[in-house]
Symmetry: C2
Subunit: 327 residues, 2 copies
């Protein structure tokens, strides 16, 4: 990586230079000790400039139309004077064009907008064990003046939890048909969602869509309310045809207003910051362990016991941690 000073990066961020914003993000994604030191310097400096955006999580199974939705919803936000940053939380998201059998370009129009910034997740991502730094990437985007952050995730597994842990409002894109299993609607996801958008509704499937809506509302009825006085709305539309996106926008605004009124907006962000703290404690302990020579030798010893399959990994880990904290 080109050696840019923290000051240069911060000036780049403040002036909205997309190339330098990108460099700053690459920096906070890095695990190298020297990069971490600079990354923390940078994050500390920009901290007062962050927190002023609305953070919107978007989920849905592959095929739910997430990239089309983000393309047109992003353009709608821009038309309302917003600056939009689009981030992805996992390497299998539609932002990462890692598809083998096809190779469509995504969000082509949005990416050309002056007031849009699109950043896929690091492709070596979870696979290579890179730290999950979407939150810190978001901080940089906020410092650069982006006031609407869209964070995309694939609608299965752990990634929703990650998104839900760093956003203010969580949007669920659903398509009709295929049964609930194919849609990956699980109790966990439904409980995290604030607004549901049934996408790809056309004239010929309107009745089906309305039935799906009724079913969803019935299911939601049995779930505990996440936010006081909020009933999760189920909206119908077509992202491709720009139908229903204005309604989504209004519901998002309404939800944020309610959170501000309920005093939960700030509270949730605080508990999110605590979770990030815990995440980084883990991350830094592992990084430090690998750096310090004295620790490294008994780390290697216990790891070897595990790798030679003589002892089970968790017991060896427990012994190592007990030694580490007694040192």
């Amino acid at each position: 990586m080109e050696n840019l000073s923290t000051k240069e990066l911060i000036n780049g961020i403040k002036s909205g230079n997309k190339r330098l914003i990108g460099k700053a993000i690459t920096l906070v994604e890095s695990k190298k000790p020297e990069h971490r030191t600079q990354a923390e310097e940078l994050l500390k400096e920009i901290m007062p400039l962050t927190g002023k955006s609305i953070r919107i999580g978007i989920t849905g199974v592959p095929g739910a139309g997430k990239s089309t939705f983000i393309e047109n919803f992003g353009k709608l936000l821009i038309s309302k004077g917003k600056k939009v940053a689009v981030l992805a939380i996992d390497p299998s998201s539609s932002l990462n064009k890692g598809s083998i059998l096809g190779d469509k370009t995504r969000m082509e129009e949005l990416s050309k907008e002056e007031n849009a910034f699109i950043r896929p997740s690091p492709t070596s991502g979870f696979l290579g064990g890179v730290a999950n730094t979407t939150f810190e990437t978001m901080m940089i985007c906020e410092a650069a003046g982006y006031d609407s952050i869209l964070i995309e995730t694939v609608g299965v597994g752990q990634s929703e939890v990650l998104v839900s842990d760093i956003t203010d409002v969580f949007l669920f894109l659903k398509i009709i048909g295929g049964g609930d299993e194919l849609q990956g609607i699980k109790r966990g996801i439904m409980e995290m969602v604030d607004v549901i958008f049934i996408n790809k509704v056309e004239e010929e499937n309107t009745i089906k869509a309305k039935n799906t809506k009724v079913e969803l509302l019935r299911a939601l009825h049995f779930l505990p309310s996440k936010e006081k006085n909020w009933k999760v709305p189920v909206l119908l539309g077509s992202a491709l045809k720009n139908i229903g996106l204005e309604e989504v926008y209004l519901k998002v605004e309404e939800f944020i207003s309610l959170k501000l009124k309920n005093n939960t907006f700030e509270k949730v962000r605080q508990s999110q910051a605590e979770k990030r703290f815990d995440y980084w404690v883990q991350e830094y302990i592992i990084q430090k362990t690998k750096e310090e020579k004295s620790v490294e030798s008994f780390y290697e010893l216990h790891k070897k016991n595990a790798s030679e399959l003589k002892s089970n990994p968790s017991s060896e880990a427990k012994i190592f941690v007990e030694k580490l904290l007694k040192k």
Copy 2:
């Protein structure tokens, strides 16, 4: 949880008592300090009894027919004299009947078999932040004499990495049509897979299936080989109609033989054990931090700085970790 001694649990495991096997699994899933101590005792004791199974990972998007496949493939294994344990890595898997809109019973026949043991992942799972203990659950099943371990995951996101990190062979279930995006075929997944099974092949879609096979083989051709002298086979069949499962079985056997011959079987298991060690180091550090009073006070201090949104979480975490390791 009922208070059973480690000895009682181990005897239960050795005698194949399914109720006690279940209790032992619940024990290793727990994060409570007193449970952890007993869990490590138990894992240490059973360690010599573990490692003698074939560990098979199975992935595919929701709707690919994973539960039907496991049901009939499991029965095939039993008919060959094997004892089969079925585990799930994530709460959205088909093993967890957490579906809201439907409530089908899964693997009904397999679950009635004397030589089968089915264990869904803890439902509070990733959502509740429970440790990922599928590896340790597998150890218990092996100690109980299960020699074929099937580990199911949903085909998107991080969970494949988790499965790939604890199994000997990785099976990918695919269905025809829907485009590659809907199937979640991403470079990362393709590079982890050892055997591909195109499921739900019927007379009327045989041509489509064969085309998909050609496309897959073409895509695989461009990927680096994971195992020396192994070309990932693409098999066609129908799990529901018991077509093609014998071929899957033979390919799995062939792959394991090759790994033994290449000397990679043991090597991979060793590096997997190292990864588990690292995982548990993180897990135990967090647990210990929350236990010890002296550490807890400055942990709380820095966490508060983060939660009050005065300072960014990662910088506070870095300061805390540096203090912790200097103590």
